[in-house]
Symmetry: C2
Subunit: 204 residues, 2 copies
DNA sequence: GTCTATATAGTGATAGAC
DNA sequence: GTCTATCACTATATAGAC
């Protein structure tokens, strides 16, 4: 039963950590949802911090990779941007609470930033992908296809607009009393608006 | 000493809550920073929740008002947008951790959204300011001065870009190992980029 | 590997002396 | 109004039986 239970703890913990954050999730909580004793959580992962970090690192790694993929696709440039935003939105629609959790942990916890800095920044494959993306942007600017913009700024603009939609989604839903269907419509509306917003802002 | 101490507790609590969030701040923490006993916090505010809510509501109210002000200024339209982003950036530079705290509390705590919904949404003065802003946008669109855009989307775009800069500021600083001076340069760079980004995206 | 029991520490909150 | 002492609770983590 070992393999199964360890994985189940990971799955349940992931769900609870993402939904409620690290401090709001207790090992007792996790155990109850798994259907086992609280001591077992510590048997497999020794500390709550270990358990969290394992999940966090895996999610972070995965997200970082997925973010860079659409930037280096072989599509023509204007389609590439649209494609990129669409992929981000698809990704976010399947992981609505993840960005809030990640940003939250990184914003409030210097040690977690320290950890990420030491383990993720110097990934060569990702760096190459990023350089390739930068070259594309500079090429498009030189060709006069888009306005002068720093590649890093463009990424920030896209991520800001996409992520913010989902970070504020519970707020939007509850404060404006939206039905689930209205929320889906809102997400797709924002998706289109952001595509328009980014592409029009890039015109030279 | 009453008046002074109560105010000092409020000040210290505000600082700690904004820096670390509600769950990460204990009343013992607050007392230690104030230089008094922990029981005193409860003497003045009875519960930690009370203390937090008092600060939170005041900050939220204040922020909401400040956000609407620049949208209804008497400036010509193109200056108005620039002015608006500049004011938001000034506001954020003086309250760098506030948006993370507010969004965090609202994102993870349904009761706090419920509370905000019941107490802040139906403010008549703010609603009038918002309607006035909407009319301006629609007028500019009809005149052909800007592209068709829903007023709510424009606000969301601006807020997304501005807030995200500050929400991710600790991450940017630590992960890329920026000096304080570099961080200030980055903020001002983003300020200019966002102004460019929004204004160019509005061209018809 | 899984359980019960427990050590240890921290929390928010209250009672009561001064 | 401010303090000490303490309660009731919850948390993480570990020891040890099975």
């Amino acid at each position: 039963m070992k393999e199964n239970l360890e994985q189940k703890i990971l799955d349940v913990a992931e769900q609870l950590f993402i939904a409620n954050g690290f401090t709001r999730t207790s090992t007792t909580d996790i155990a109850r949802h798994v259907g086992c004793n609280q001591a077992l959580i510590h048997y497999y992962f020794r500390t709550k911090e270990n358990l969290f970090q394992q999940i966090f690192v895996q999610k972070f790694e995965h997200t970082l990779t997925r973010l860079l993929e659409p930037l280096t696709s072989e599509l023509p440039f204007d389609e590439k941007i649209t494609n990129c935003i669409n992929i981000y939105f698809n990704l976010l629609q399947d992981n609505r609470q993840l960005p809030t959790c990640i940003i939250n942990e990184l914003a409030f916890n210097p040690e977690r930033r320290e950890f990420i800095r030491n383990n993720f920044i110097k990934n060569q494959i990702r760096q190459q992908a990023y350089y390739r993306y930068c070259e594309t942007i500079e090429h498009e600017i030189q060709q006069g296809n888009i306005r002068p913009v720093q590649p890093f700024d463009l990424i920030l603009n896209i991520i800001s607009l996409c992520l913010f939609t989902f970070i504020t989604l519970p707020i939007y839903t509850d404060l404006l009393e939206r039905t689930p269907q209205q929320v889906e419509e809102y997400i797709n509306h924002r998706r289109q608006e952001i595509i328009t917003q980014i592409t029009t802002s890039l015109r030279p």
